[in-house]
Point group: C2
Chain length 228, copies 2
DNA sequence: GCAACACTTCGGCCTCCGCCGAACCGTGCC
DNA sequence: GGCACGGTTCGGCGGAGGCCGAAGTGTTGC
C-alpha cells in the first residue's frame, strides 16, 4: 500500500460521494449508497469492496444487507483534511467539528438517537446487561424486548411499520465507540425526551441530563450520569 | 474542484513522490524532482503544472529554473494524514513531527541552514534591513554583500564554486514563514556554529543560542534572542 | 417451494491518463 | 553570435479503471 494508492481510493467521484455520505458516522447499506451516488448496484458493490480492502471502510453483513461505515477516526481525519483543502466543498454534515465542544461531547442527538458519552454508556450498559447482543450484527435479545416493553416501546410494531432496521450501530467520533441507532435507538431517544430524562440545550443537538434522568438511567441501566 | 479531484492530485506514484520529497519544506527545481522520481523532464513538467493548478504547490520562476514548494500548512496537513493512514509508508523525513517539541521550535538546523524562530527572525531582519530583497525571487543586495563580507563570507566565490543557488527561501512549518536557505544561508549557519553563536543540543537538529550569540545577533541584525 | 430482493461476478465498452521522445523556447555563459 | 542547458508543448502509445447489463448467489417472506 503506497500513499498514491491510498489517495486513489478517494480519487473517484463515486467513491468520494460514498465517503462523504458515510462521514455522518452512520452505517449505510450498499443499496442506499448506490442510490445516493446515482450508480448501479454492481458499480457500487465494486467500489465498496475497494474501499473496504483499502481499510477506509469496514463492513458488517446482516442477512442480505451489507452495512458499511468509516473504519475509524483515522479515516475520518483523512477525509476531513481532504475536504478542508478542497476550496468549495461544502463541509460534510458530520459531527466532528461540533462535537469537540464540551456540551455536545457529553450528550447529544445524532439524527434521532442518543450519542456522546451518554449514548455510548447506554449502548455499553445494554450490551453488558444482555439487552442487546453483538453476535452477527446488533440485535435485541428476549430480555431486551421486555425491557423496551416496560418503557412502552413495542418492538414488534416498530419492525412491522417500516423498512428501517430495528437496531444498528453508529460510530461515535467523540468517544470512538458505538452507540445505538435504528428504529429502536430512535424510539429510546424520543422516550427519553418525552419523559424529560434529557432536554435540548437551545436549538442544537446538545442535550442535558435532568435530575429525573439521572435517576432513570441509574435504575434502568445502572449508569452513573453524575459527571454527564 | 471536487474532493475526488483533490485526491486525484495525489493518486499517482510520481506526483506522490514529488510531494513526499517536498515535505522537507525546501524548494526543489523541476529537474531535481524528475531525477528523484525517475521520470523524464517532460513528464515531471506536466505533473508539476497539475499540482500547482490544484493549489498543492506554489512555484517561483528564477531564470531558467522553476522552483516549487508545498503551498502551505494545509497542503502539508493533507499529505500527513494520507501518510498517517497508509500503513507502511515511511514517515516522511520532514520537520513537522519533531518541531512540535519546544527546543527545535526555537532554533534548529534545516539541512545546513538556520530554521525555527531564530531562522525566521534572521530572515525577517535581513529583509527589513535591506540586506536581501524579495523582488523577483530572493537575492542579496549590495549592502547585503558587504554585510556578508564583514563576516568573512565571500559571496562571489560562493556563486562561482557550485551550481547551487546563492539564496533561496525555505518554508518553516513551525513558524509558517520563510527562512534563508541556499549557499549563503548555509554559509551563515556554519559561521554561526564556528563562532559559537549557536551550539547543537545533543546529536539532533536542535540548537541553543549562546551568550556570545545573543550579543552577535543583536549587533548584526538587531534581534532580541533573550526568549530563544 | 416460489417469488422478491440485496448484492456480487463477469464480460465488454470506452474514456482517461501517465509515459516517452522529438521539437521548441528562453536563459545564461563563453 | 553560438552553444549548453532547463523547462515546455505536442503527438502517439498502452494500460488502468469506471461504467453498465446480464447472469448468478444467498436471504427473506409468503
Amino acid at each position: 500500500m503506497s500513499l498514491a494508492e491510498t489517495a486513489g481510493l478517494l480519487a473517484d467521484r463515486t467513491r468520494a460521494a460514498f465517503c462523504l455520505a458515510l462521514f455522518d458516522g452512520r452505517a449505510w447499506t450498499a443499496g442506499e449508497l448506490a442510490r445516493h451516488a446515482g450508480v448501479s448496484a454492481s458499480t457500487a458493490s465494486e467500489h465498496l469492496s475497494r474501499l473496504v480492502t483499502g481499510g477506509l471502510l469496514v463492513e458488517e453483513r446482516q442477512g442480505r444487507h451489507r452495512y458499511v461505515r468509516l473504519s475509524g477516526p483515522a479515516a475520518a481525519q483523512l477525509i476531513e483534511s481532504l475536504a478542508a483543502f478542497t476550496p468549495d466543498t461544502a463541509t460534510p454534515a458530520g459531527l466532528r467539528e461540533s462535537t469537540r465542544l464540551g456540551a455536545e461531547a457529553r450528550a447529544r442527538t445524532c439524527y434521532d438517537h442518543l450519542a456522546g458519552q451518554l449514548g455510548v454508556s447506554v449502548a455499553a450498559a445494554a450490551l453488558e446487561r444482555g439487552l442487546v447482543t453483538e453476535e452477527a450484527g446488533l440485535a435485541v435479545t428476549e430480555p431486551g424486548r421486555r425491557w423496551f416493553a416496560e418503557l412502552g416501546i413495542d418492538l414488534a410494531a416498530l419492525r412491522k411499520s417500516g423498512s428501517r432496521p430495528l437496531l444498528r450501530s453508529c460510530l461515535d467520533w467523540t468517544e470512538r465507540r458505538n452507540h445505538l441507532a435504528g428504529a429502536a435507538g430512535a424510539a429510546l431517544c424520543s422516550r427519553a425526551l418525552d419523559r424529560r430524562w434529557v432536554e435540548r440545550i437551545g436549538s442544537g443537538r446538545a442535550l442535558t441530563v435532568t435530575a429525573a434522568g439521572r435517576v432513570a438511567f441509574a435504575d434502568l441501566l445502572g449508569i452513573d450520569t453524575a459527571a454527564t
